[in-house]
């Protein structure tokens, strides 16, 4: 969580992006100078299927307020099937988090192709706004990591 000068809550967003589509899509939104908030920090992974649910929980434990996972559109996966596994894993994980009473809008999966720079920026704007509305993540943090 960051707090800027006017003390408006600034959520920390971790975005996992697959190397072939979404990371390239993020690059494209940069090339096209399409703004999205600095809150979003991208971690590059080879494929969305590389993202272990542990990474997502870890981010929340360490103080992330939202985690978004971006991959190639279903059917377009560079590794042909990776994002299909991602889809099942994340559906179940998110459903479990929901079951545990974690706010639904803190997590998201979005398919962004390498050509969808505009979609990437729009998604990040939208997601950041949604998380901002939720306020700081209190339910999934590890109290030992709480910043004094």
């Amino acid at each position: 969580m960051q707090v800027n000068d006017n003390k408006e809550f600034q959520p920390l967003i971790v975005a996992f992006c697959c190397n072939w589509c979404s990371y390239a899509g993020a690059d494209l939104s940069g090339t096209n100078r399409l703004n999205y908030p600095t809150n979003v920090k991208i971690i590059r992974v080879p494929c969305s299927c590389r993202v272990n649910p542990m990474f997502i929980l870890r981010a929340f434990q360490r103080g992330a307020d939202g985690v978004i996972l971006c991959g190639c559109h279903p059917g377009d996966c560079h590794y042909t099937s990776g994002n299909y596994f991602t889809r099942r894993r994340m559906t179940l994980l998110f459903s479990m988090l929901d079951f545990l009473g974690i706010e639904r809008d803190r997590t998201r999966v979005e398919w962004v192709s390498a050509a969808e720079g505009a979609k990437f920026a729009a998604t990040m704007n939208e997601f950041t706004e949604a998380v901002k509305k939720l306020g700081p993540n209190r339910r999934l943090e590890d109290l030992r990591c709480k910043k004094q």
Partner: protein, 323 residues
């Protein structure tokens, strides 16, 4: 039943089909029964027991036992056979080294439920027409049989043995069970209520690892939570680690593999309803990807190791149930 089992075990030992038997051994009280291995007819006569308190699922012991010299006889209740099948599917047991005798299952009783009625000083329990006559040092007490049925048996999913070499008694059927009722009840609560419910339950966790160590799906050579190199190792019961990592990931790791044997909740010293986490995954898998029962056979691909191109999107979580 106990008699028939002892005789069967003696026969199989005598004819050399097996060289040991895994079953249950009498305890100090009527209810504190320990899984045990018997090697001789004398041991069987002296200590073998099968009654309303032999709830323990012995299939996990077969991971180790089936790798030893010689065949072992395993008495398995219907629910235990699902666990064994799942272990066979995952190459964790050597099925050829196991002689499975299917035995009728529950309902098993839970001593804690009797004690929760304030009944203490128990010296004997008898079931007479579904009324428990409990002898105690404070005098005889009674309670209805069904009120003492263990949670795992109260929501029994199947009386069918999915793998066996021989059966004692008739095989049963897969049951229409009410096992998802509590999951559904939670789903219909608000997020805040669900959060409060789980925080209250999971904060009781003392990280004794009984749930994990008893779980037939948790047979990892080295658990990530015990492995300092995994980066998520954590020995302590620490505020918010169990709630936010350990139990979620454990449930995720057994998702699509958990047969819903109910051992996790049965052994939890803090009575946390951990099986609800597994059942949530099972319910989701059933509704999103088609009915799937882990352990039903040894070949079907686990739902998390499979996909279809028209699976639902993760956003379905936002679209259903109560926020």
């Amino acid at each position: 039943m106990q008699e028939a089992m002892i005789n069967k075990a003696k026969q199989l030992l005598a004819d050399g089909t097996v060289n040991r038997v895994i079953g249950w051994k009498k305890g100090e009280f009527v209810y504190d029964i320990t899984p045990a291995i018997f090697e001789t007819a004398e041991e069987l006569d002296a200590d073998f027991v099968y009654n309303e308190f032999t709830a323990a699922n012995v299939s996990k012991y077969l991971v180790k036992e089936s790798k030893k010299e010689g065949k072992i006889l395993a008495f398995l209740k219907p629910c235990d056979t699902y666990s064994l099948n799942q272990l066979t599917k995952e190459h964790r047991v050597n099925r050829d080294n196991i002689y499975v005798v299917g035995i009728p299952g529950g309902p098993k009783l839970d001593a804690e439920k009797i004690k929760a009625k304030g009944i203490t000083g128990i010296t004997g329990i008898k079931n007479e027409n579904y009324t428990l006559k409990i002898e105690t040092v404070y005098g005889e007490q009674t309670m209805p049989f069904y009120e003492a049925i263990s949670d795992k048996c109260a929501s029994c999913k199947s009386k069918k043995h999915v793998t066996y070499d021989e059966l004692i008694g008739e095989d049963g059927d897969v049951l229409e069970s009410n096992r998802f009722d509590m999951v559904e009840k939670l789903e219909n609560m608000t997020a805040q209520e669900r959060y409060d419910f789980w925080r209250a339950e999971l904060s009781k966790c003392i990280r004794c690892n009984a749930c994990r160590n008893v779980c037939p799906a948790c047979t990892c050579e080295k658990c990530v939570f015990d492995n300092p190199e995994s980066g998520v190792e954590n020995k302590a019961a620490s505020n918010s680690f169990e709630e936010n990592m350990f139990h979620i990931i454990r449930a995720f790791h057994v998702a699509g593999r958990c047969t819903d044997c109910g051992e996790c909740s049965r052994v939890c010293p803090q009575n946390i309803p951990l099986h609800l986490l597994n059942r949530k995954f099972i319910k989701d898998i059933n509704s999103l990807y088609g009915e799937y029962q882990a352990g039903e056979d040894t070949t079907t691909k686990a739902p998390l190791n499979a996909y279809t191109t028209d699976d639902c999107e993760a956003s379905i979580v936002h679209e259903r149930g109560v926020e």
